[in-house]
């Protein structure tokens, strides 16, 4: 085991980023065009990074699996983006956003990163407004805010229920401007299948053209992964169908450490599962908890329809258990509470696997038009999916896999332990600790892309010795043939189960044993079961069609499932090793008498960075210890 160095700059927490920006080396403007940077992924982090780096003068090559960069899954983020603007005059500040985020993350994030995020947050809003992002506004023309879970101030900026879409379109447009200007070369329908490492540094990628099946190599001076999270390891999640972990998993297998893989976020308000044909779960934004009240019937197995259950027969359990935060308790806490109610037999709906989110009182108080103005598109979405009208009957909701705090380990400069490999957004582990607060993912993605990587990558490029290489290099040829061999292997199994069959099986195991609550026996069982899934995958998979010449979605899925299986195993291993409960990681053995997460700061106040040791051996654990100098380690309480 090695000690991981987060390379946190010295100085007081308020000065670290400012000092660091001054101390970092710069690349001369006329030299920037001599550097080629590879950006994989075009969500908020990828698009914003690509646009900004091209504006600075770098040559940027951008890759996405979609037909258009605008389809990246950031587009689906609903609720909003946090920023410490204090426009509401309600006591917000950079320090409070920093404090809330560290506490919300249950003290498993790196303080310096979180502070930088809070410092940058106001600039993000400025930048987005200048780009023409149509944020919600007050009648006086100023920006409007709302509240999100885990905060007692109103600091969330939003564009109806489509904030992610509007922010992404802003970043996408900024990037397309650079495409036209020639600074960005765009490669769509390309999937990164391998990282190319030369002399210990990331120097390129190997991709598969999803339209033609062609395997292609691309060389560069630095590689930036902004490929999102791995929530789809659960098969059913709020992630898009194509969201996958292959890029980061391939990088992991090339030497990048995987940070805190067991820190996954189960979002409390999703539309419940309705049948085994279900392909994904749909999130109902956390913003709904501003006005919706969560409840279950007091008596077990109460199958009456909700309007027949009078107020004193209802348990508004979040308001009861957490009087000061009420329905706006953080996600991990709210999800677990929902699970407790359902496990007690108080769940509602035909499956009993749901709780109510009720707008009756809000409609009474504000009128239907105000509720519709705030959440109209979400209500419409709910009605389309369930066939029920949420203005009339309460929504039925249940937790679902939504976000992954874990990801590739990066230092303060967002660089992994592999020199040149930078990881942004949800793909890295960095800012959210063991639980992410609502409306912070958009903030982090854009902070990383617009305002952090443009500085830190310059420092890397100016400091590192980077000899010119081309794709003729031996390492490219070798990596390319590895990829070809892997594709050929997937095609050659010709078994009887589809990639979806196996993915669903993996998802069941992950949800059952590595989901909302975990225990040692279950995790051991999960590792064993995942091993069997892996065996079945490599012996009985069926991929129809051809590998080249045309689109083959089944082949794409198969490659991703293969990686999810290995990642699932690592998640279970990480969850098993972390003998404490914190944030989204809830180990049943470690809880307080009133069922709250019980951290073990003496033994687990660190980031777990896992190193790939080959197929035959389990990963090796490295630790980056976390110190809390500005936010005192304390038991989180939202009561």
């Amino acid at each position: 085991m090695a000690i991981l160095d987060g390379k946190v700059p010295p100085g007081s927490i308020e000065e670290k980023w400012t000092n660091h920006k001054f101390n970092m080396k710069l690349v001369n403007p006329s030299n920037k065009r001599k550097f080629t940077l590879i950006v994989v992924g075009t969500g908020l982090a990828g698009s914003s990074a690509a646009a900004t780096l091209a504006e600075l003068g770098y040559n940027v090559k951008v890759f996405c699996i979609h037909e258009s960069p605008r389809r990246a899954h950031s587009i689906a983020a609903q609720g909003g983006i946090n920023a410490a603007k204090n426009y509401q005059n309600d006591g917000d500040s950079v320090h409070r956003l920093f404090y809330d985020t560290v506490k919300g993350g249950d003290f498993r994030a790196r303080e310096a990163n979180v502070h930088r995020l809070a410092e940058i947050s106001p600039n993000i809003i400025d930048q987005c407004v200048a780009q023409g992002v149509p944020f919600a506004r007050e009648y006086g023309g100023t920006l409007s805010n709302r509240s999100f879970g885990g905060a007692q101030v109103s600091r969330t900026f939003y564009a109806r229920g489509q904030t992610g879409q509007q922010l992404l379109i802003g970043a996408y447009q900024a990037m397309m401007r650079q495409v036209e200007a020639g600074g960005v070369q765009l490669y769509t329908r390309r999937e990164m299948l391998e990282l190319v490492v030369i002399d210990g540094a990331a120097r390129g990628i190997v991709t598969r053209n999803l339209r033609t099946g062609e395997i292609e190599s691309h060389a560069g001076d630095g590689v930036i992964l902004a490929t999102g999270g791995y929530g789809n390891v659960f098969y059913l999640s709020t992630n898009a169908k194509q969201s996958n972990a292959t890029a980061i998993w391939r990088a992991h297998k090339k030497g990048a450490y995987f940070g805190n893989p067991c820190f996954t976020q189960i979002h409390p308000t999703c539309i419940p599962v309705s049948g085994d044909y279900q392909s994904k779960l749909t999130l109902m934004s956390e913003s709904l908890r501003n006005d919706g009240r969560v409840w279950v019937p007091k008596s077990k197995g109460d199958k009456r329809s909700p309007e027949q259950i009078s107020d004193d027969e209802r348990d508004y359990y979040l308001e009861r258990v957490y009087p000061s935060f009420g329905n706006l308790a953080p996600r991990d806490v709210s999800s677990r509470q929902a699970k407790f109610r359902v496990d007690e037999g108080r769940g509602v709906g035909p499956s009993g696997q749901a709780v109510y989110l009720d707008f009756r009182d809000a409609i009474k108080r504000l009128g239907e038009h105000v509720v519709s103005e705030r959440y109209g598109n979400l209500f419409q979405m709910y009605e389309k999916i369930t066939g029920e009208n949420p203005y009339k009957v309460p929504m039925r909701i249940y937790p679902a896999s939504h976000y992954t705090m874990g990801g590739l380990w990066v230092d303060y400069n967002l660089m992994s332990n592999l020199p040149g490999l930078h990881v942004l957004g949800e793909a890295n582990f960095s800012d959210h600790g063991a639980n992410r607060l609502g409306a912070s993912a958009l903030m982090q993605g854009l902070s990383d892309g617009y305002f952090v990587i443009p500085y830190t990558i310059g420092h890397y490029l100016a400091s590192a010795a980077l000899p010119k290489i081309t794709t003729d290099h031996e390492a490219f040829k070798a990596t390319r043939s590895d990829v070809e061999a892997r594709v050929a292997k997937l095609m050659s199994i010709k078994g009887s189960c589809t990639a979806d069959d196996i993915h669903k099986e993996l998802g069941h195991i992950m949800w059952e044993y590595v989901g909302m609550s975990r225990n040692s026996d279950g995790l051991k069982l999960a590792i064993e079961k995942i091993g069997k899934v892996k065996e079945r995958f490599w012996n009985d998979l069926r991929v129809p069609g051809e590998a080249t010449g045309t689109v083959n979605e089944e082949l794409e899925k198969a490659g991703r499932v293969a990686d999810f299986i290995e990642l699932g195993e690592l998640m279970a291993r990480d969850a098993l090793h972390r003998d404490e409960s914190c944030g989204g990681h809830f180990r049943e053995e470690y809880q307080t008498p009133d069922n709250e997460a019980q951290r073990d700061d003496a033994n687990f106040c660190y980031v777990a960075g896992w190193e790939w040791k080959g197929d035959a051996r389990p990963q090796e654990l490295h630790k980056e210890s976390l110190t809390f100098e500005n936010v005192k380690l304390a038991t989180r309480s939202y009561k």
Partner: protein, 257 residues
């Protein structure tokens, strides 16, 4: 695990199958039996595809991703209508409870010269990106922004801009248009940015460049049928086209070269 209603229906599908852009295509018949009415249209296709794969056949290719009506990936024309019969709905949000047992459903790709078929129901819409690239943005580099509240924007304008910006770039407008025109798509972007003070300064150049690009890429001309706005899953208003007509004329007059 059980949903709101639990019933299943049997359907007959006529699906356009086409190996690639170069090869011609044709309709093939498939039986979709035992489909839950709570399933989405895409989940119905998933079920059919899983059966096809297990039967040794090539699954039906179609674009999809977020499956919550926002990424704009899903396309296809269902019984003659882009995104199917329901208004304000993308294919991924269309649920099988809208169909009846025994129905025959005809499924084809979006058709327009500027959207060549890639495979089966999947078409190439990258021409939209090319249109955005020539001007669908505010030219502001990162770091150049004044305080977000420095320039107040009337709520009415911000709301209208949002309505136009809600476009998901799915291309249903083009698919619905008898002329394969992209006026609604372009009009929505021009409208979004024209309605905000941040977008005004380069407004004339933008509308000219984007429209010229649209024409160059082989989209047809608008004949004001309004079919685009009706097909739009995000209810982008026809007003955006009219506004763009006006702005284009003004920009043409003001143009200096």
């Amino acid at each position: 695990m059980g949903g709101a209603s639990q019933s299943t229906i049997d359907l007959k599908l006529k699906v356009w199958r086409q190996k690639d852009a170069a090869t011609g295509g044709r309709f093939e018949d498939y039986d979709a039996t035992g489909i839950s009415t709570d399933a989405s249209f895409l989940e119905m296709l998933d079920v059919v595809n899983q059966r096809l794969i297990k039967g040794g056949e090539d699954p039906i290719a179609f674009d999809h991703d977020c499956r919550e009506g926002i990424c704009g990936s899903c396309s296809m024309v269902i019984n003659g209508n882009p995104h199917g019969p329901e208004r304000s709905t993308a294919t991924c949000q269309l649920h099988m409870r809208k169909f009846n047992d025994g129905d025959t459903i005809v499924v084809e790709p979006f058709r327009a010269n500027a959207f060549p078929v890639i495979k089966d129901l999947s078409v190439d819409r990258t021409s939209f990106d090319e249109i955005i690239a020539v001007g669908g943005y505010v030219s502001v580099n990162t770091g150049n922004a004044p305080d977000a509240n420095a320039l107040p924007v009337p709520k009415v304008d911000a709301d209208q801009a949002f309505n136009a910006a809600a476009c998901i770039g799915c291309g249903a407008c083009v698919a619905a248009c008898a002329n394969g025109s992209a006026m609604l798509f372009v009009g929505a972007k021009v409208g979004h940015l024209a309605l905000l003070p941040q977008g005004r300064s380069e407004h004339n150049e933008r509308v000219l460049a984007m429209m010229d690009k649209m024409q160059e890429l082989g989209f047809g001309n608008c004949s004001n049928t309004g079919a685009c706005a009706v097909a739009c899953p995000k209810d982008i208003s026809f007003e955006n086209i009219v506004r763009m007509n006006r702005e284009y004329a003004k920009a043409s007059i003001k143009k200096r070269t």
